[in-house]
Symmetry: D2
Subunit: 132 residues, 4 copies
């Protein structure tokens, strides 16, 4: 997923504020699920929701305004009621080589929209996540 760093996301050190990566990961995860045919509105309509229960982020390099950026996404684990999605932010300034600036992963649990208790990962979601 390509991302254009927004001017508003850049702090007075001239780099993207570290908290904004979770917004990028969130958008990238939605695009990833769409791409797998798992539309979030359909998941909700089916009585399920995904909740982020754990995030981890490692920062290796800064991203600046007008850098060219893409976020890669892959599912690294599917458990009984949760799954893990890993992200990498790959960025470069004009003329500079690409590098992995940030890596992170989110653990999502599947919950029921009725009682918000954990539920098994729906079979369709599991298949989509493990397909590749």
């Amino acid at each position: 997923m390509p991302v254009a760093p927004r001017y508003v996301e850049v702090d007075q050190q001239g780099v993207v504020f570290h908290g904004h990566y979770l917004t990028w990961f969130d958008e990238a995860c939605t695009a990833f699920l769409d791409d797998l045919g798992v539309a979030y509105p359909d998941v909700m309509a089916g009585g399920h929701d995904f909740q982020v229960v754990h995030c981890e982020i490692d920062f290796a390099a800064s991203v600046r305004w007008r850098d060219t950026v893409r976020v890669t996404v892959e599912c690294t684990h599917v458990g009984s009621t949760s799954f893990t999605v890993a992200f990498a932010v790959i960025a470069h300034a004009a003329g500079a080589p690409e590098r992995v600036a940030v890596r992170g992963h989110n653990v999502y649990v599947v919950v029921s929209t009725e009682d918000w208790a954990k539920r098994p990962v729906p079979e369709g979601v599991r298949q989509a996540l493990t397909r590749r």
Copy 2:
């Protein structure tokens, strides 16, 4: 209402990004209504909602991280289905004199939460807004 400019709100020019003032105004308006005894959740429970239909902002000076800032709020007009709230952002750096950095106002219309059509300003809200 005092506001501590957040590090995340400051852009690479070292000043608060202009769009964030609408967030400050929104928080200031909530505090203002609370202060007048008009709790937004009660308004919603009464079948009404307020929608921002017009914003205007004038920027006279920059606000920087660690400046001391307060936002003043006053209701400047109550019409039949709308009211106007004016804001001023008053800021100073340590040791510097206070100045009005930003002025703005929002026009809110009262709508029904049933059909989202305009409704007269509820009498209790009108009285609260015109009390001072």
Copy 3:
């Protein structure tokens, strides 16, 4: 400029929070200037900067998550030291007709990066802004 409303931008009423439109306008203005051949970094390198001194926004309709959205941009006025850029947010849900959800404009003044006082609009910028 196409915009995908971000999940983080949608508030608990299910609509894009009104303050975020200024972020979209900012990104749209950057894209517009790029498109005209006026690169903001070059402007800065030339000793000039643009500062937003006035914003106005009118809200006609809500924008929701997963709506298809584009922001149109045009320069509506070039004065001696300032110029005005107008924006329209055009949005539609899947299957629904397009409508103008939000209109707004920003007034920018040209300042020197040395003393931050007003300067005439540089000739190259004036020509680019009035070309169409």
Copy 4:
């Protein structure tokens, strides 16, 4: 540090978007360092800066608009060139008991503002962080 969840921070599920906690942690860390007598501007003036290199967050419960919230902060580790600050978000709705909604920690490295390479934690900072 008390935090009033902002309306803009609440998503359409009615809960604070998970990425905003990193902003709260950032503000809480600044307040914590101020409280210890380690003013960030002084650190910068001394040729040092702090960079976040790792974040971890665990979500146990949601935080909603108008909940009463405070963020606790403590330094849990000081290494040779880095230190770790742990955060807990403690929240409750009106009339409900307090609970820990979110826990997280950030690892900061000390870098030189000259070459942005790692530097030992300055003695004054180390003493402040380990004082309690």
